[in-house]
């Protein structure tokens, strides 16, 4: 099976985001990782190939030169090769990203499955996988927590609120957006990290993919720190009195009860 996994190079969720200017952040001081949801897709891809004893997993990313680090991590986690499509912006439109992913994948081979994460934790766009699938005329299901491949078909489950699940069927090749619950991603072992350094990575510039230029239809005007709460009111004393006071506040002052 030929499997492509789209991985995005994103700031670690625990990293402090230092905003610079109106619409950018300092990406030189914060730690970057593979987008956490993409790791579930990667793990699933690697397990599928391991189970079948044949096939190839290729990690694809569209990002800055530094995104090479996430390709290397993906290879340490089991991907056989990598493709880096270079751009100079972290905030690329999802339409352009999807077109770049499509072009890079099609240049490389014929996918049986393309995995993505359910969404990226930096821009929280939640749509690149759908645009990629539409561009490639493939079926897509996102937020997948269970996958079975059977006779050229994928049977997937996704959560649809309060624990209920929808079961969907689609033909391969298809796009699958992975999320927590699908599997438990492995930790890279030292020898795998060393081996990953020798695995091949194709580098291309996004400009060389021959994508038609398209206007940015969503413009980032401003980025600001989320206002933090501070000065919590502390309630103390006898438990019953404290709780009674809390209920009064929630009812009368805050009007949320």
């Amino acid at each position: 099976m030929q499997i492509y996994v789209c991985v995005k190079h994103v700031p670690d969720t625990a990293a402090n985001i230092k905003i610079t200017g109106n619409d950018s952040f300092d990406d030189t001081t914060c730690k970057f990782v593979i987008n956490p949801y993409d790791e579930y897709g990667l793990e699933e891809a690697v397990q599928l190939v391991e189970k079948q004893g044949q096939g190839e997993v290729v990690a694809v990313t569209v990002g800055k030169e530094a995104a090479m680090a996430s390709i290397r991590s993906a290879m340490a986690l089991g991907a056989h090769r990598g493709i880096l499509v270079k751009t100079d912006s972290q905030f690329l439109s999802s339409t352009l990203t999807a077109r770049a992913l499509k072009a890079a994948i099609e240049q490389d081979g014929a996918p049986d499955i393309i995995f993505t994460g359910k969404g990226s934790v930096d821009t929280e766009g939640f749509q690149t996988q759908y645009r990629l699938a539409a561009a490639m005329d493939m079926a897509v299901v996102n937020e997948v927590v269970d996958l079975k491949i059977d006779n050229g078909q994928a049977i997937v489950e996704k959560e649809i609120g309060s624990g209920s699940r929808e079961v969907l069927k689609m033909k391969l090749p298809c796009v699958i957006g992975a999320t927590k619950g699908l599997n438990i991603p492995r930790y890279p072992k030292f020898p795998d990290i060393m081996k990953a350094k020798k695995k091949p990575v194709k580098e291309t510039d996004i400009a060389s993919l021959g994508l038609e230029s398209l206007p940015d239809r969503v413009e980032l005007l401003n980025l600001e720190a989320m206002p933090e709460r501070s000065d919590a009111k502390m309630l103390e004393g006898d438990v019953k009195e404290t709780v009674t006071e809390l209920i009064r506040i929630l009812k009368e002052d805050q009007k949320v009860l």
Partner: protein
């Protein structure tokens, strides 16, 4: 004046309460023409409640090309047809499980911009606000497009009644099913609880809950807190096997924005806050006065949750009687 569509989700025969804020967003400062788009068979009750929140037109979309209940791709195409037919300038919906999927499908199929999970929207300036970097920053985005789609985080915008005269029209969509994906089964959860992402009150138990049985204590309290209350869990509690993943709040769990969030035995990790920091009021119960959560909540109680929660249940019960 803009023509604004709102995709209405109906649950158990009634319009979801979280839709009211989406309708409020669609009304803006007034002057917009608001189209409530309804796909399943409607009840008459829906019409009056939609009118109360400003829907000028109710559009019943009927699919002639197949059963939208089993084909999300067909549903997206049917809605796209309605958007074209009524020449809408934008379509808004909930960032619910259904909305997240359907809007992304539509955006991809129609090749129009989509902003997911908005926490604020200004239709005059065509700007929206949404979280970037898991709740650490807020981005303001401008939509430069004739037509665009937005999903709105449940409860993020305060609903406001703006009663209008409404008119119902039926639209028969002809779109055909591309036959890409098919829903073959729905596994209902045993609990049948309120959906976390749309609950207006959430009470969450962290690692010190210590067992799945102890969540009953939170269930009992939730029952007293009101109808739209859900029980959540931290990842530490989920990973320890005390709660299913569907209950997890946070960066790798659900993103929620209730009116009231009560965190019991939560340290206040960045990843947990990524999923709930836009809640209106946050209450924390923790035994450790130095717990980080006390630096980012509105009200703090330094005490054992096994004392506080049953007392909260008891006092609410007494007051309710």
């Amino acid at each position: 004046m803009a023509k604004v569509g709102v995709l209405i989700e109906i649950e158990n025969g009634e319009v979801k309460e979280t839709e009211f804020s989406v309708l409020t967003a669609a009304c803006g400062d007034g002057g917009n023409e608001v189209f409530a788009i309804v796909t399943p068979e409607n009840t008459d009750a829906a019409a009056s409640v939609l009118a109360e929140y400003g829907a000028n037109k109710i559009v019943h979309v009927v699919s002639q090309g197949g059963d939208i209940k089993v084909s999300p791709d067909l549903e997206a195409r049917v809605l796209a047809e309605a958007v074209k037919k009524f020449e809408l300038d934008m379509l808004l919906g909930l960032a619910s499980a259904k909305g997240r999927d359907l809007f992304a499908r539509m955006a991809a199929f129609m090749d129009v911009p989509l902003v997911s999970d908005c926490t604020g929207i200004d239709l005059d300036t065509k700007t929206v606000r949404k979280s970037h970097f898991s709740g650490k920053t807020v981005a303001t985005l401008k939509l430069e497009s004739e037509l665009f789609l937005c999903t709105i985080r449940p409860n993020a915008i305060e609903a406001r009644k703006t009663p209008v005269q409404t008119q119902t029209v039926i639209f028969e969509a002809l779109a055909a099913d591309p036959g890409l994906t098919k829903i073959i089964d729905v596994k209902e959860s045993a609990g049948g609880n309120v959906d976390l992402t749309e609950a207006s009150i959430i009470i969450t138990g962290g690692r010190p809950i210590d067992s799945s049985e102890n969540y009953k204590m939170l269930d009992e309290c939730a029952a007293q807190l009101g109808e739209s209350t859900a029980v959540g869990a931290s990842r530490a509690a989920v990973d320890a096997g005390f709660a299913p993943h569907s209950m997890q709040v946070g960066q790798t769990g659900k993103t929620v924005s209730p009116k009231l969030y009560i965190g019991c035995g939560l340290s206040g990790s960045v990843q947990h806050f990524a999923g709930m920091k836009t809640s209106k009021v946050i209450v924390a119960i923790n035994t450790d006065k130095d717990a980080p959560i006390f630096a980012k909540c509105d009200y703090g109680i330094i005490a054992d949750m096994f004392d506080v929660v049953p007392m909260l249940t008891q006092v609410l019960k007494e007051q309710g009687e």
